[in-house]
Amino acid sequence: MGHDQKYVDKKYEVVGTRFNRPDGIDKVTGKARYGADASAPGQLVGRVLRSPHAHAQILKINTKKAEQLPGVKAVVTFEDMPDLTSGDQGLADILENCMARGRALYDGHAVAAVAAVDEQTAAKALKLIDVKYKKLPHVTDVDEAMLESAPVIHQRIITRGVEPAPTKPSNISARTQMGYGDVDAGFAEADVIVEKTYKTEQTHQGYIEPHACLASVNPDGTAELWVTTQGHFVFRNVCASLLGFDIAKLKVTSSEIGGGFGGKTHVWAEPVALALSRKANRPVKLVMGRDEVFRATGPTSSTSIDVKMGAKKDGTITAAVAEMRYQGGAFPGNWAMLACMTAFACYDIKNNKSIGWDVIVNRPKVAAYRAPSAPMAAFAVESTIDVLAKEIGVSPIDMRLKNVAREGTVAPYGPTYGPIGIEHTLQAVKDHPHMRAKLKKNQGRGVACGFWFNIGGQTCTDLNIGVDGTVNLALGTVDVGGSRSSMAMIAAEELGIPYEQVRANIADTTSLGHNDMTEGSRGTFSSGMATVFAARDAINVLKQRAAKMWGVPEEDVIWENGQAVATGEGHGNLPPLSLKEIAAKSGRTGGPIAGHNEVTADGAGMGFASHICDVEVDPETGRSTIVRYTVVQDAGKAINPDYVEGQFQGGATQGIGWALNEEYIYGKDGCLQNPGFLDYRIPVCSDLPFIDTKILEVPNPLHPYGVRGVGETSIVPPLAAVGNAIANATGVRMTHAPMSPPRVLAAIDDLENAG
């Protein structure tokens, strides 16, 4: 299972240094083509009509007037997207989310779509579609949705994981429980017990590029889709099964992607665009407006969480219980389950129990958002640990170090950890100069930890060597943050050639075997692994060719520093053959030289981080300003430190936005009130200081270079780090995120009124 340690320990020539990304020039000159930047001959404009109601029965959709409008080439409803999911409920949910089938389940749910010759005509056509709704009672709050009295959104939903199974349907799709030990006994041992309830509001991934695609379906059943996605192979499979295409006949090309963070792991309007193109028999370009992105595409869950933790005077946590309620939007999800797996994962707590409730509400279908479900659980747990530490009188860092998980600790979800880096990050935080920096008036400092899994998954990579010795690397994992440069560096490292001689590209679905999404921090881990093996595969071919050129037995040829070297009796003195020389002769020694690898990159490592946050709170307005921030995270092995730092800084900033101002605001009518960047307030440049980073490298034994995914963990600690900092600045403990100025000011007032 493990990899040869000599690779983990070896000194690298290319890996670990900083190189410019291959797509850099295209992106700074405006040449890079994103989802909305492609066009096709005769292309039409696609637009989607969305429900203005939170929950409504769709009595009738009359599309006649729209169809008769000159310039309209197709109008589709659910009737043009028949259910071919044959019992696969997950797929059926995706289909229903793409196009309402008899019922609008949330404000913004697609009910019809048009394809017309231009924007103006398409907009007119949408107004001409007459939809008769019958409003139904709605529920958007996770706690309210769990009440007996709440309107039940899906009659088919019987709560899983409850014994005996309920007889009545409800909005609770599943109950999850994890943990071990005897928590009652644990609390009995405790000198101090803290119990708190937290709430976190719904946030959106907020990628700057709206969903966009260009779909073209031919009468013979062949089709092409150009789309901004985190996984074009998965999009291909899903779209093919939803629309009844043969997988091989649907060619999906991933455009440059303008941010995803989980939101582009899921199809939204792509199947609709394909359905429009199929009906119009013309290419259809469908680009979402920003309001559509907020109203109808994957936000994360809003939550409500109870935490109870007990500890001895010496700081040992004897028991911990979390009960977590996560809404997954209008369809069942497993978000609370993920929370159960991560809530206490940073710690070694002899008695721990996590209970998760997955809840359905009239909101858009939740999609993964960077370390999905972990930040909310961490907000509750990491805040509670600070309260506990304060009551006992130990420093928050020592409290955490005292209970930190190590190699050999049993994870809350069962298995025993291998080598993990959480203790290293905490120690690094404790020793960091940031911890000794002076704080000014109204300032406070907070620390918090975070955990997220890495996943591996199916990966396929090609490496082709040109006759001039330069190398093309064909990858199947979408590059969301600079992974093309990392892959090129790995190939250069293995082959022993300069980085500049390798060109990495993302191949379309007809040119490579299946690749899973770029999700779960897997891009560099899994494609990196496949690239290593593809390069070693090519090296074997290079050695064979060198052997032929020399006329020596293959086993007498070794590869070092980018050249073939003959060893052994009689030909040890042959001058080495460079990759360039072997490539030049390849036509006459057996044809093109290529390396290939398909792998199920399992055994991904664990991502752990600890953050330090300094905040200044204006006691008169409740406004919090981040004055200093430091991220410490274990990267296993940083291939390109520039982009590892970038992941740390970006994730931390998303977490800071969530901690301070980002939230979905629903009205009493169940409609989203802030579907735009004006009132959905993501951090702007002037809101932030520089984000300091420290990369730790605790190698992952299951990767040839020891790589761990770094993409997601950095969004986990900030909510609690900011909350703990605010508590230390003001004395008020915030239990509702975002900790917006009105909430903080109200909390300060309550504290003062309490005397």
Partner: protein, 162 residues
């Protein structure tokens, strides 16, 4: 195309003519009619800055300008930044400092940063942060972007002195 109007303007120094509906934004006209897709749409309401251009030298969101307003004006987009095969110092520093991840916001940042450095060759960190507050980036946390702008400013001041 209903009630289209012919617009004669100058884009990145070149005379350009396009016909667009009177209610079409300059952003859409530049993208769909002039083919300058380096002008990005992130919101269409002036909140994200991805469509930033200069109009007669003024920094604006092209989504908040009508195409027909460009008549007789001077438009500059990211496509016009690099002259005769040379990257603009801002473009080079954005690459060198890894100031982009997904890159969708990069054209807007470059146009806004150039507008800043044109009027203030030596901005403080705070001045840079406020000048770029109208450009949203969701990937980087702005850290490497601000560093890149500082480095480019330094570079450009050196070049001037020479």
């Amino acid at each position: 195309m209903s009630n289209a109007t012919l617009v004669s303007t100058t884009v990145n120094g070149d005379p350009v003519q396009f016909a667009c509906p009177t209610d079409e934004s300059l952003m859409t006209a530049l993208r769909d009619r002039v083919g300058l897709t380096g002008v990005k749409e992130g919101c269409g309401t002036g909140d994200c800055g991805a469509c930033s251009i200069t109009l007669d030298g003024d920094l604006v969101c092209s989504c908040l300008v009508l195409g027909v307003e460009a008549e007789g004006r001077e438009v500059a987009t990211v496509e016009g930044l690099s002259a005769d095969g040379e990257l603009h110092p801002l473009q080079q520093k954005f690459i060198d400092h890894a100031a982009l991840q997904c890159g969708i916001c990069t054209p807007g940042f470059l146009v806004a940063a150039k507008a800043l450095l044109d009027r203030n060759p030596n901005p403080s960190e705070t001045e840079i942060r406020y000048a770029l507050a109208g450009n949203l980036c969701r990937c980087t946390g702005y850290d490497k972007i601000v560093h890149a702008v500082q480095a480019a400013a330094k570079d450009m001041r050196k070049k001037k002195r020479r």
